[in-house]
Subunit: 200 residues, 2 copies
Amino acid sequence: MALEHAILVSLLEQPGSGYELARRFDRSIGRFWTATHQQIYRVLRRMEADGWVAAEEVAQDGRPDKKVYSAAGPGRAALAEWLREPVEPETVRHELAVKIRAAAFDDPAALTVLIAEVERHRESHSALLARYLHGEQRDFPDLGALDVQQELQHVVLRGGIEFERMNLAWLDDVLTTLRRLADGRGRGTGDREQTSGDRV
Amino acid sequence: MALEHAILVSLLEQPGSGYELARRFDRSIGRFWTATHQQIYRVLRRMEADGWVAAEEVAQDGRPDKKVYSAAGPGRAALAEWLREPVEPETVRHELAVKIRAAAFDDPAALTVLIAEVERHRESHSALLARYLHGEQRDFPDLGALDVQQELQHVVLRGGIEFERMNLAWLDDVLTTLRRLADGRGRGTGDREQTSGDRV
DNA sequence: GTTGCCTATGCAACTCGTTGCATAGGAGGA
DNA sequence: TCCTCCTATGCAACGAGTTGCATAGGCAAC
């Protein structure tokens, strides 16, 4: 459980209200740590009770008041402690991969549906990559003059960029494969029983 | 929620007991869909009650009896229906990325700890890639003679291979960056306040 | 010959995450 | 004018996932 820590990092980079955090989790830090506004509000209240963050009521004109949070001393200490703990292995959930393997046990029409779905994914990953590259241009125009915080943000961003590039290449590979199978498949042996279920 | 469907795919590829499924989820299909034995046993019971899978008690000598499950008609129908639904966007949890960004708000000693941690990750990803490549050699020796099921398994495996290659390259990038910062950092401005928290 | 690991299944308690809903004022368009 | 969307926060209920523990026989090593 590290939502607290993701929130702390975000608040250290920039204080903000629960609502603003929720928007950041949609746009920025949420690319590698997702959370809904419900989780964020609940965790913020707990963190405030524990003294990890300090809250300040801010009146606004023309819109509801907000509570602006910022990281407090105990929060920074907790973050430092967490940072020194080993990283637990991530739990992976790749639904598309399951569906691709599932398509072997369905009729050829399923392949057509799957191809459309993979194309949709390809589009969204392509748009995300474009957004990453645009953000890189905007936020890191001079790569020779970054401070430590920016260097660390940038190396994470590079990870996102390379991840999306890999994704696009793989989705193209998937599309090529699925189209080939959709063409060449008369009534193939897709339902072949009893193969090894212990494959890598 | 698609654990049921991942289990169905695994059972269609090869029937097995809850225990065997849990082992597969550690080794094979679990690379893109994780589950503990608790989840698997619970879900299997529910699936059996719903008629999605059929169970057969198998007595063994020298070890406890087991219940071997296989996918039943309603399960296949449910899988076909699920396959035609759009894939919901995956929730990402990249703890290491959060820690890298968190390191900006800690003292230089944190960088040293983080470097060791990244090296550890690099080792495990390297081992996983080797295992994927070995599994590819073992299970797909003749890439020109694959049936539909094998083609689909192989394209997913290629995704795993490319994912791990990208991971290794990025972790090397991270290590280079962290080492550079750990060297050159006197008392830098890592705590610079008020930067944009809405970066990509 | 006892210690520890492997197979095989399961209960109970807990935390985390999701979903639906509610409030409430202001902005902007049909 | 009404409808919808946006900001801003929150409650309540549910479902998913995690953790710790329990049983129980067999096998292998020390």
